[in-house]
Symmetry: C2
Subunit: 436 residues, 2 copies
C-alpha cells in the first residue's frame, strides 16, 4: 500500500505510470507473495529518480535518517507499520534501544532520531538511545530546538555472562541500528543471540556491495517486468560491477574504462530503441574513493580523470590516501531527474518500515553553494487512492495517485535489499561473499 501524497508531477500519466496504476491489485499481491518468502529490512529510505521515460532507485539506505522530514499527517502510517513489525519480531517487547551513529550528532540527525523515537513510542515501546561510540563514556543530553532533548547513553553488555546489549536498568528486546558500522561491526555487537539486532550486522557498510544490491534488483525487475509486460529497463538502472580495483594502477584503470565504455554503449542502444535524444551519462560509484559520484558523458572525460589520479606508488607513500587501497567500483547508468520544484531538480525519497511505504519527501538538490533541503509530501487532500483505470481514463472526479509509482519502485528496491541481506547472511547456506 502506498499513501497518496502530493507529488511535483504535473504532466499527463505516461504509459509506464498508467500500466502500474492499472495493475495495482496484481502488484500488491506480487509484493505480498515476495514477503511470504523474504524478510524486508526493518526500515529503508530509497532515493528515486524519475527521468520521465524511466524511473529507478539510485540509493537504498538501510540506516535512514531525516525522519522528521516526513509530513506530520503520514506519521500514523509509520506507527502502524512499526506495530506490525514489532508484532512479528517480539510481540512481548517493552523496550527498544536505538544505536545512533558514532560521533557528535548534528541537529538534522538528532531531529530525525527524535521522530524515530516518537514512532516507536507510539507503537508501544519505551525507546532509548544506546551509543556504541567508545568515546562516549557517560550519558549526554542534546537539546533540540523544537522538541524534547535527545539523550545518548553508553550501550553496555548486560545480564548473566554479559550475553545481552542494553543500558543500565534497561534491557531491550530489540536493538535498532541507526549506525552504518562504517568501520565494521564492533565487538560489543557480536554474539547477541538473545536479542533481535535490526537491520542485521551484514547490512553494515563494510559488508554491503552496491553491485550485489543492483544484481538482486535486476533479477527482481526482470520478474516484475514479466508480470506486467514491461521492459525491466524502465524501472532499473543498468550497471557494470568492476569489483575491487584501484584505478591508480594500469590494470585498475583499464578495467574501469572498459566497464564504463561498455555500459555507455548499452545505454546508448536503449536510448536509440526508445527514441530518447539525450546524451547518456554514467555515474561512477566507489565509496571512499575520489572518483565516487563522478559523472561520465564521454569515455574521454574518464580518460582525463584517470590520468590525473595519483599513481599507486604515490598512494603507497601515503600521499593520496583516498585511492590508496583497492575499492569496490560500480559504473551505473545515470538517471536524471525530470522533476522540478520551482526551478530546481527534485528527487523523491520513499521511506519504508517493515514491508510498508510510510511516506516520502522531495530532496531538492543544492544549487551551487546552497544547502540541500527537503520538501515533505503530505496527503493529497482533494484526492483518492489510485482509482481503477476506467475511472481515470473517463476523467472521473478522482485524481490518480502519482506517488504510487514511487511506492512501487521503492518497494522493488526493498525486495532487492532483502535478497541482498539473505545472500550475505552468515547463518544461511548460500553465502556468496565473493560476489563482485
Amino acid at each position: 500500500m502506498v499513501p497518496h501524497l502530493i507529488t511535483a508531477l504535473a504532466g499527463p500519466l505516461n504509459e509506464l505510470e498508467q500500466r502500474i496504476l492499472d495493475a495495482t491489485p496484481v502488484i500488491e499481491r506480487w509484493f505480498r507473495l515476495e514477503w511470504m518468502e523474504h524478510t524486508p529490512p526493518i526500515y529503508t529510505a530509497v532515493n528515486i529518480r524519475n527521468a520521465g521515460f524511466k524511473v529507478a532507485p539510485v540509493d537504498t539506505n538501510l540506516y535512514p535518517t531525516g525522519w522528521h522530514n516526513l509530513a506530520d499527517d503520514v506519521l500514523p502510517l509509520a506507527v502502524q507499520a512499526a506495530q506490525a513489525a514489532i508484532e512479528k519480531i517480539c510481540p512481548e517487547a517493552r523496550n527498544l534501544m536505538i544505536v545512533p551513529e558514532n560521533g557528535t550528532p548534528g541537529s538534522f540527525y538528532l531531529a530525525g532520531l527524535a521522530r524515530l523515537q516518537t514512532i516507536f513510542r507510539m507503537a508501544g515501546l519505551d525507546v532509548r538511545f544506546g551509543s556504541i561510540d567508545p568515546a562516549l563514556k557517560k550519558s549526554v543530553t542534546y537539546p533540540l530546538p523544537d522538541g524534547l532533548p535527545v539523550t545518548f547513553q553508553p550501550a553496555q553488555r548486560i545480564g548473566p555472562a554479559a550475553l545481552r546489549l542494553g543500558l543500565e536498568h534497561f534491557n531491550p528486546c530489540t536493538i535498532l541500528l541507526n549506525n552504518a558500522l562504517a568501520a565494521g561491526a564492533p565487538g560489543i555487537l557480536e554474539e547477541l543471540y538473545e536479542q533481535y539486532l535490526l537491520p542485521p550486522l551484514q547490512a553494515g557498510w563494510t559488508v554491503r556491495r552496491m553491485s550485489r544490491h543492483y544484481q538482486c534488483h535486476e533479477e527482481i525487475c526482470k520478474r516484475f517486468g514479466k508480470l506486467l509486460g514491461i521492459d525491466p529497463w524502465l524501472i532499473h538502472p543498468l550497471f557494470a560491477a568492476c569489483g575491487q580495483i584501484d584505478p591508480g594502477t594500469p590494470q585498475g584503470a583499464a578495467a574501469l574504462r572498459e566497464e564504463t565504455s561498455g555500459l555507455l554503449s548499452k545505454v546508448r542502444r536503449k536510448y536509440k530503441e526508445y527514441g530518447i535524444h539525450e546524451k547518456p551519462r554514467i555515474i561512477i560509484k566507489a565509496r571512499g574513493h575520489s572518483l565516487h559520484l563522478t559523472t561520465v558523458r564521454d569515455i574521454k572525460d574518464l580518460d582525463i580523470l584517470l590520468a590525473q589520479l595519483p599513481k599507486n606508488k604515490e598512494a603507497a607513500e601515503g600521499k593520496a590516501p583516498l585511492s590508496a587501497a583497492p575499492c569496490d567500483f560500480l559504473a551505473q547508468e545515470s538517471v536524471a531527474s525530470a522533476e522540478r520544484i520551482g526551478d530546481t531538480e527534485a528527487e523523491p525519497v520513499v521511506y519504508t518500515i517493515d514491508r510498508y511505504v510510510v511516506g516520502g519527501y522531495y530532496r531538492v538538490q543544492a544549487e551551487a553553494a546552497e544547502r540541500t533541503h527537503y520538501v515533505p509530501l503530505a496527503f493529497a487532500g482533494n484526492a483518492q487512492l489510485p482509482p481503477p483505470a476506467r475511472e481515470t481514463r473517463d476523467g472521473g472526479a478522482t485524481a490518480p495517485n502519482r506517488f504510487y509509482l514511487y511506492g512501487v519502485v521503492g518497494r522493488l528496491a526493498l525486495v532487492a535489499a532483502s535478497y541482498e541481506l539473505e545472500a550475505t547472511d552468515p547463518e544461511m547456506l548460500t553465502i556468496d561473499d565473493d560476489a563482485p
Copy 2:
C-alpha cells in the same frame, strides 16, 4: 496506533484523557499482548459517547457500513490494515467476495460498499459482491452518483461437491460478510470449511447478545483500569442483563422494573461519588421490541410504559407483534454526549480493520425530523501524534491527540467483541450459549 484526527473537543484535557495520553506505550503494549491471545473481528465500527466525566462505547457493529464517511486522507491506514489482515489470513489470496445485506440497497449503503471495495482492491485483491439474497436471481448493477457502479451477483456453491462459496468464474479465498444475518445463517453459508468466512457466523444478529458483549467489556475494563490505576466505570457503561423476557407478562415487567431500578441506584451512587449533578438515565435495549432504546429517568416513567404495553394475551392474538415473543433485554447506563458540532450533539464513531484504528467520523444526531449526518475526521494538520506528557504539560508546540482516547475506547470494545466471538465459537470448548 491511533491516527491524530481533528475532534470537536476544545476544553482542557481532563484527568482521564491526560492519564491515557501519558500511558500510551503501556496501553499499546497491552493491546499487543491481547492480540497475541485473541483474534480481533475483521472490522468494526464502534459508536462512542463522551460525557466529559466518562467515555464509553454504546454500540459495537460487526458489519460496519458508511465507509465512505471516513476522510480520504485516512484511507491509506485502512488499506495498510487490510493488507496486514490478508497477510495473516490468506497471503496467497487473489480474490475476495463481499456478501452485502439482502434487499435493495440504498445509496448510502452502496457508497460505503464501494469504498470497502476500494480498500481491499488497493490491498491487492480482486473484490466482487456476492449476494445471498434468495430473491436475487441474476447480476444487478446499481449506479453510484460519484464513482463506479456496484454490481451484486448471486453467490453460489461452487467447486467439486459444492464445498465452496463464490460466483461464476470467481473462486474467493476469503468471504467478507457485510450482512448481519438477521434471520440467522442461511444454508448457503454453512459447512464452508475451505474458505475463511469473516466475521464468523456467530457474529450474526441472532447469535450475538448485547449482555455478553458488555460482560466481556466489563471484565476487560477492570483489567485495563487496574493497569492504568483508573476506575473502570470511567470507560464502561454499567448494565443489567434481564435475559429473555416479555414485559407484556407480569413476570417480565417485574424483572425489567427490578433490573432498571437497581441500575438507576447504582448509577446514582457513582454520580454521587464523582460529584456529578446530572440526573442518571437508563436506556432499555431490546432489538425488535417496542421498548428498544427507551430512556428511563425515573422508575415511574418505566411503570407508565409497562402499563401501556399490550398484554401478552393480545400479543398472542396477533394484535401486537412487537412484544409477542420473549426478547433479550438489557438495561444500560445512558452516557450522554457532551460533544457538540455547532449546536448539535455529536457522537464519535471509530472504525477498525483487524487490530488497527483506521479512522472515524462524527455522527451528528438528527434534530427533530432532520436526517442524521456524518462529519469525516481528517488528520489534524498542524499537530503531531500524542506527544509525551512533559511536552503537553510544558505547553510545547505540539497539540495532544484528542482522538487517541476514542481510539483506545474503540479498541477496548474490539477486544470485548473478540472475547464475545470466542465465547460463542462452536469450535471452542467453552461454549456458553446460556449466558443471559
